[in-house]
């Protein structure tokens, strides 16, 4: 009797210590349920689907500690996954032509997409991979636009994954500087119109039209608008068209550096570059070009932006990252992904508050979300419909079928309308039931279920319950 009491007090103390060290006051230990149904629900939401035996394993070792582990993925060993990843095509030191760059882009994204499926099925850092999927989608770029594809592998690896449980401001800044985003939303072209005139008039006549699409450089609002509408404040966040323009002005000059191949550089300098071809392909990394920057003062959301350099863009990012509408927008999107299509207002408010009071600490935000009563509430159980990626990955995890050759499954994802990295609009793939459930999609899922699962499992995998998580 005394021993078991001592043990349970000790256990409580350990748990309290764990939560205290993780930032939560011991007095506020959230009630994470321990029963099997709750474990299954948590695994449905925080992984790409439970594997055989997962529910029992996590129940025994404790759901709280499992959640804690998933919130600290660096400490989870993922060597087995690494062994399964396909090798990407080697990146040449430089590209001789746009066609070569595009081919490299296509091939790299194909491997990345295959690996995305492999990670979803085999990574032990499941929550991290779910969040990489979420945040890539939030900061969506489209592999099919021009040469965006060639920048996508580094985008996911360097701009997204490192920050998914870090600070939102860091994530935002990394996407703003990524060649993938700069190209996809045209900011690499955006320039102070006067600056553009000056530069154009200095070019030889053959290149006056600015290249393939005949665009004369000027202010491009595309990124400025999506930055406010989609990435931060949200469409109802209270910004105006004038704010969009001012933000766009602040980001003029944020562009992609050209890569001049060694041999070509010498030939170009000798005047042998073909007329009509850009002297160098812009296939490099981020570069701020002051000559393209609109140096005038700006007013963004009531703040004065001045300085005349790259710091203006950083200042804008600071303002919008800290804006209350951003906290709400992000909170709602996360709640929609992890709780239900129409999440309770109280939950959204609480998560937004946590976002603000931690200055966008995404680990803290996720903790608040996962340990909320709404997360485990009965209304949330089975409330979400699986997206095609969720569906395919969870089918492999549930059946234990081997995914050593992922490419046929990419065709399945294409059939279902969710080819990774191939969402054309910046809004990214939808996460709600009505985006994915229609007559044709259900038939396709039934057939893909038969492709993945053996005869005993096909009916279950293609059936109604398995479409939900």
């Amino acid at each position: 009797m005394r021993r078991s009491r001592a043990l349970s007090t000790f256990a409580l103390a350990v748990v309290a210590l764990l939560f205290w060290s993780a930032g939560l006051p011991a007095a506020d230990i959230p009630k994470i349920p321990k029963d099997e149904a709750a474990v299954r629900h948590a695994l449905n939401r925080l992984t790409f689907g439970p594997r055989a035996g997962d529910v029992e394993k996590v129940r025994r070792s404790g759901l709280s500690s499992w959640i804690d582990q998933q919130l600290n993925p660096a400490k989870i060993d993922d060597a087995a996954l690494e062994a399964r990843l396909l090798s990407p095509p080697p990146r040449p030191d430089s590209f001789d032509s746009m066609q070569q760059a595009r081919r490299y882009g296509r091939e790299s994204v194909e491997v990345l997409a295959a690996n995305k499926l492999v990670r979803a099925v085999y990574s032990e850092r499941q929550l991290q991979e779910l969040l990489v999927d979420f945040w890539f989608n939030h900061f969506n770029v489209f592999a099919g636009k021009g040469r965006t594809a060639m920048f996508i592998p580094e985008y996911e690896r360097d701009a997204i994954r490192p920050h998914v449980l870090g600070r939102f401001r860091d994530l935002l800044g990394a996407t703003a500087k990524s060649p993938a985003m700069l190209f996809y939303l045209d900011n690499w072209l955006s320039a102070d119109p006067e600056a553009a005139e000056r530069i154009a008039s200095r070019r030889p006549a053959a290149q006056q039209n600015g290249g393939g699409n005949g665009r004369r450089r000027g202010l491009n609002e595309n990124y400025g608008r999506e930055l406010l509408e989609l990435h931060t404040l949200g469409v109802d966040g209270g910004y105006t068209q004038q704010d969009v323009i001012e933000v766009a002005r602040a980001f003029t000059g944020w562009t992609i550096a050209p890569e001049v191949p060694r041999g070509r550089f010498l030939r170009a300098a000798a005047g042998q570059a073909a007329a009509g071809q850009a002297a160098a392909l812009q296939t490099g990394s981020f570069r701020f070009v002051p000559a393209l920057h609109d140096r005038g003062d700006k007013m963004v959301l009531g703040h004065r932006i001045s300085g005349g350099g790259m710091e203006e863009g950083e200042h804008v990012l600071d303002i919008i990252a800290a804006h209350p509408a951003t906290a709400r927008h992000i909170a709602r999107k996360l709640a929609q992904r992890f709780v239900s299509d129409d999440p309770p207002e109280a939950l959204v408010a609480r998560v937004a508050k946590r976002f603000t009071e931690t200055s966008g600490d995404l680990r803290e935000v996720m903790k608040t979300l996962i340990t909320s009563p709404e997360f485990f509430a009965p209304q949330a159980r089975g409330a979400k419909v699986k997206t095609p990626i969720d569906f395919v990955a969870s089918a492999y995890r549930a059946t234990g079928r081997d995914l050593s050759e992922p490419r046929p499954m990419l065709r399945a994802l294409q059939q279902l309308g969710q080819m990774p990295y191939n969402c054309q609009p910046p809004t990214g793939y939808d996460d709600t039931a009505d985006a994915w459930i229609n007559a044709g999609a259900l038939v396709a899922r039934m057939n893909i279920a038969q492709q993945i699962a053996g005869p005993q499992d096909a009916a279950r995998i293609g059936g109604p319950e398995f479409q939900r998580r």
Partner: protein
């Protein structure tokens, strides 16, 4: 509401949802169904070069701007433009459509397009498919909104022959997308299908149950109405291309009398920045495919063409001048085609703005003098019969221009 299946004299099956007594049903069954009006939308993805497709050979500037790739003036047999009205001509590889011009079932709207000036394929396609140019937030397509505004939900009113649901038909109204009728089926035979059907029927899940029900109904209807291999009408020869085969699927479904009202197919490969060709070459091959496909479809549908309009569209046109690679860059205004009995064919509609530098859009492209939504809305009201009061639901934010009067009511 009870579902009844009623056999009609022609042998096709129709789903009727009624709560009436059987004798009424028997009388309803004996009456032939009124033939539904059909719209077949064809999207030429990649920005077809409208100026080499519908050639303004009467415009001298056209030849100055395209020294290498212009299509020659009519008069030289099949290596020159096919004269339509003394000013415009068809590209010679579109000869298959000339008989439709001659019998007044082909109309063209030139200098047609979007008020938005984006030259991004993807944005412009989205704007055209949602019919809300400049608005990226629109998730549903204009044809899905038409389905919602115009009648009871039914699984086979809207069908896209495509691998994925195109934006044009995306939305809450039921619509189907499949690459071929024979792929829209549950593999594994009748037992697998029955097992799935029962599982979905017994799930206490309104969303999935109703989605599945639509699917199984549509499959059942299609299966019994489209037995075995499809044989087009005698003498009809569809091109063996994906596009040609897609049109054949549409004809098959239309002739099965399963309630098809709006269909969609796409033709790709129009983005000719390099080596476009003129009388021969890349563009010529694509135009040949599209023309022979549409001509075959029209011939196959036969007298159903009296109630059908085929409408072609593309996200924008191409620059008036050729570029340094014997191709053309992205432009603005383009040409749309309408084919069908209800079309007042044999004429080119719209105001031709000319190709002089000051007449071009931004000094480089064919200008737009007709908003594409004017064409869409005329088809939807005059042909499909949507009341004008409901037009705002299908084309939100659009105040139409003067009627083109290209479609008979």
């Amino acid at each position: 509401m009870t579902s009844r299946r009623v056999f009609l004299k022609s042998g096709a099956m129709t789903m009727l949802s009624l709560g009436f007594a059987p004798s009424f049903l028997a009388r309803a069954a004996a009456a032939a169904p009124t033939r539904k009006r059909l719209l077949i939308a064809i999207f030429q993805r990649g920005a077809v070069d409208g100026l080499n497709m519908i050639v303004p050979f009467g415009e001298a500037e056209y030849y100055r701007l395209r020294p290498n790739i212009a299509v020659p003036r009519p008069g030289g047999g099949d290596t020159t433009a096919i004269d339509l009205d003394g000013f415009f001509g068809l590209h010679p590889r579109m000869a298959a459509l000339k008989p439709l011009w001659d019998n007044h079932s082909l109309a063209i709207v030139h200098a047609c397009g979007s008020p938005d000036s984006t030259r991004s394929h993807f944005d412009a396609q989205d704007y055209m498919e949602t019919a809300t140019p400049g608005v990226k937030a629109t998730r549903d397509g204009w044809l899905n909104r038409y389905l919602r505004a115009s009648g009871a939900a039914a699984p086979l009113r809207g069908v896209a022959i495509a691998r994925q649901m195109p934006r044009t038909l995306q939305g809450p109204a039921p619509a189907l997308a499949f690459p071929a009728v024979e792929t829209f089926t549950v593999r594994g035979g009748a037992t697998a299908e029955r097992d799935f059907q029962q599982a979905f029927e017994h799930a206490s899940d309104p969303l999935l149950t109703s989605g599945a029900r639509e699917a199984f109904e549509a499959m059942r209807i299609l299966r019994s109405a489209t037995n075995g291999d499809y044989r087009p009408s005698s003498g009809v020869d569809y091109p063996r291309s994906p596009f040609g085969q897609a049109l054949q699927e549409i004809a098959r479904i239309a002739k099965a009398d399963v309630g098809l009202e709006v269909a969609f197919a796409e033709s790709t490969g129009w983005d000719h920045h390099v080596n476009e060709g003129s009388v021969d070459g890349q563009l010529a091959l694509r135009l040949d495919d599209v023309s022979r496909g549409i001509a075959a479809l029209a011939a196959d549908l036969g007298d159903r063409m009296a109630d059908t309009i085929v409408l072609t569209m593309s996200e924008f046109g191409r620059a008036a001048a050729e570029n340094g690679n014997a191709g053309t860059d992205h432009g603005h205004g383009n040409a749309m085609m309408l084919i069908g009995g209800p079309v007042k064919g044999g004429a080119v509609y719209g105001k031709w703005p000319g190709l002089q530098p000051e007449q071009r859009f931004e000094g480089r492209d064919l200008a737009v003098t007709t908003d594409f939504r004017d064409v869409f809305s005329e088809v939807v009201t005059q042909h499909l019969g949507l009341p004008s009061a409901a037009i705002a639901k299908v084309f939100p934010g659009f105040t139409g221009g003067p009627s083109l009067d290209v479609v008979r009511a």
